[in-house]
């Protein structure tokens, strides 16, 4: 089996009496693109925040990049990248200034930074915009840049929290090209999304509902298992099953 980069065992997170994550168990492997799906309020953002060290679990063991999230938070943080929904660059700074700031946080040496920045700008074909303010760039560029900055320090895992909100399918597809590229370089990608077409792009997806993981497999297997034509249908079937009353339904659970 491949190297595990995320190990979650019996993860429980409660806010008062509300259970946001109810006994989660899953592994994510190196270089994998792992889709983390669920309706709003299903608990996926909570789980992701725990994995990033932004929040601590009520109980359970979580290992990220080989380190315990509770005891070795610092080491975990050095080895992950994070991109929030609100794509996270400073609008009033230029591309170069943003990169400089984030490299500073991760302790990247200036020489290395310069070399990597040239490569990044070339790769995204935005060399001319190096000194443009982020605020003046189109949304698609911003998102690609935010992703590139999130993996600038070569993390083992990058967490993307609904990274493609509000952009058209073509831009989204281009964004996914970047994700594939990162995955090819061995970076594990952990992504939450609303878009079911994006779920198809993942190597494996987990679907959460009301704090529990209801399904976890490759998109292909899930579609077969639920005899659905696409991920959208899989998602709906899971959601309906869970919402059905506790009485045993005549057809049984799928």
């Amino acid at each position: 089996m491949k190297e595990k980069v995320i190990e979650v065992r019996n993860l429980i997170k409660k806010f008062g009496s509300f259970v946001a994550n109810d006994n989660l168990n899953f592994d994510v492997y190196k270089g994998e693109i792992f889709g983390f799906l669920g309706a709003n309020g299903a608990g996926k953002t909570t789980a992701m925040k725990i994995l990033c060290g932004l929040s601590s679990p009520t109980s359970g063991q979580v290992k990220v990049a080989g380190f315990d999230i509770h005891k070795e938070t610092e080491k975990v943080k050095r080895n992950i990248g994070y991109m929030s929904q609100k794509f996270s660059l400073y609008e009033d700074l230029t591309i170069a200034e943003n990169i400089r700031f984030y490299s500073g946080i991760y302790g990247i040496k200036p020489a290395e930074r310069k070399e990597k920045m040239e490569r990044l700008l070339k790769n995204l074909d935005i060399e001319s915009a190096r000194d443009s303010l982020i605020g003046s760039l189109p949304l698609g560029w911003k998102q690609k840049l935010a992703f590139s900055v999130a993996i600038f320090h070569d993390p083992k895992i990058v967490f993307l929290d609904e990274p493609t909100g509000g952009v058209d399918p073509i831009t989204r597809r281009k964004f996914w090209d970047l994700i594939y590229e990162a995955s090819d370089q061995g970076i594990t990608v952990f992504v939450t999304t609303h878009y079911m077409d994006e779920a198809e792009y993942c190597n494996r997806v987990s679907i959460m509902n009301e704090g529990r993981i209801e399904a976890l497999d490759t998109p292909e297997n899930l579609k077969n298992q639920y005899s659905a034509k696409d991920m959208d249908e899989v998602f709906l079937k899971i959601a309906r099953n869970v919402e059905a009353p506790p009485k045993p339904s005549p057809k049984g659970r799928a």
Partner: protein, 369 residues
């Protein structure tokens, strides 16, 4: 350390690129001080008065010229007997009218006393009170010096007034400490809370929290630039006060700067506390404006004396930090007192800073849970 310098670089770029922030930090202090010092002055200067002289004799002329040469009054209208006095008030031509009755000098020489009437526009009670007491003072002074010098009066008690610490009764002396408190609150507390909640709003705070930066480093990085800028502002206000308005610094300059530093720290921790509560910039700004600026102006003793407030408000004023700072600054600048006389106020400020920092840390942890 390198991380930290990089952080500061970024913070200063934010500040220097945002015209609104620049105006608040560098424009407002100067404008405020000029406004309060020059325009909203409560000192009386060149108040317009009318003279209704029904006897036109030597004494009334001398008194009139005394009044007009005092610098407090200018003659706006000479009224004629029978003219409607109220009319000139209603038209706003004068603030006060001095009315000498007929045969003023004659009556005065004969009876040794005579009345002069002062009519003042009390729709602005403060000004009316000040104008009448100034005019009364000048007239009495004249009578004493010019008319009674040869007459031996029976035992008499002369009241001699000396205004200590602000002999010229200049209101700018009162405003400089208040404006300092207000500006430092504005920049330290409001700007910090806005700039931290902006990071929350933009999602960049999460990214930093997910990075190897420690929360304390993030907070220090956000706060340090404002600490520096506030300190520069405190200096600017003091220098303007001293060199433009002639406010003295009788006490120790070092102590003054030390106390200002303490007040800035207190305001910064308050700003951090606000940012842990406010979800976005708008809320942070409203909390700062309504919760900090208004009480600073109204309840700190900056403009309205605390002793004249109703008891409940006097009690509330105790939790307004500028209240204590203003006392400290007035003591050091105007009275020249040392730490021995202001240690109580200083302790209050220290206690407030510690409380705000403790509350911020507690709130911050809850948010991370």
């Amino acid at each position: 350390m390198k991380q930290f310098i990089g952080f500061l670089r970024k913070e200063f770029l934010h500040i220097f690129r945002d015209p609104r922030t620049m105006i608040i930090i560098f424009g407002i202090p100067v404008v405020q001080l000029m406004l309060f010092g020059k325009v909203i002055s409560t000192d009386i200067q060149n108040a317009k008065i009318g003279i209704l002289d029904q006897s036109h004799d030597n004494t009334t002329k001398k008194i009139t010229s005394k009044l007009l040469s005092s610098g407090y009054f200018v003659l706006a209208k000479e009224l004629q007997p029978g003219e409607d006095v109220e009319d000139v008030f209603r038209k706003g031509i004068v603030k006060m009218v001095v009315n000498f009755g007929p045969d003023f000098e004659q009556n005065f020489e004969r009876d040794g006393k005579e009345d002069v009437q002062l009519l003042a526009d009390a729709s602005d009670p403060n000004t009316a009170r000040i104008l009448t007491s100034y005019a009364g003072g000048i007239i009495n002074d004249y009578v004493k010096k010019e008319k009674l010098q040869n007459i031996q009066l029976p035992d008499q008690i002369n009241v001699e007034v000396r205004m200590l610490y602000n002999e010229g009764l200049k209101s700018v002396y009162m405003f400089v400490p208040g404006i300092m408190a207000m500006i430092l609150m504005l920049i330290s507390a409001m700007m910090t809370s806005i700039s931290i909640s902006k990071e929350k709003e933009m999602g960049t705070m999460e990214v930093m929290l997910a990075s190897p930066l420690k929360p304390i480093q993030i907070v220090l990085g956000k706060v340090t630039p404002y600490l520096l800028l506030s300190f520069i502002n405190a200096l600017t206000i003091i220098l303007l006060g001293v060199f433009v308005f002639g406010v003295p610094i009788k006490g120790s300059f070092l102590l003054l700067m030390g106390e200002s530093f303490l007040f800035i720290l207190m305001a910064l921790s308050l700003g951090i506390l606000i940012s842990t509560v406010a979800p976005n910039q708008m809320v942070a700004m409203f909390i700062s404006l309504l919760g900090l600026m208004l009480p600073t102006i109204l309840l700190s003793g900056f403009i309205f004396p605390i002793r004249n407030m109703p008891l409940p408000l006097q009690i509330v004023s105790n939790i307004i930090p500028p209240r204590w700072f203003i006392v400290i600054v007035r003591n050091i600048m105007l009275k020249g007192t040392g730490i021995l006389y202001i240690w109580k106020e200083t302790l209050v400020l220290i206690f407030m800073s510690v409380t705000f920092i403790a509350l911020s840390i507690k709130n911050f942890k809850i948010r991370l849970e």
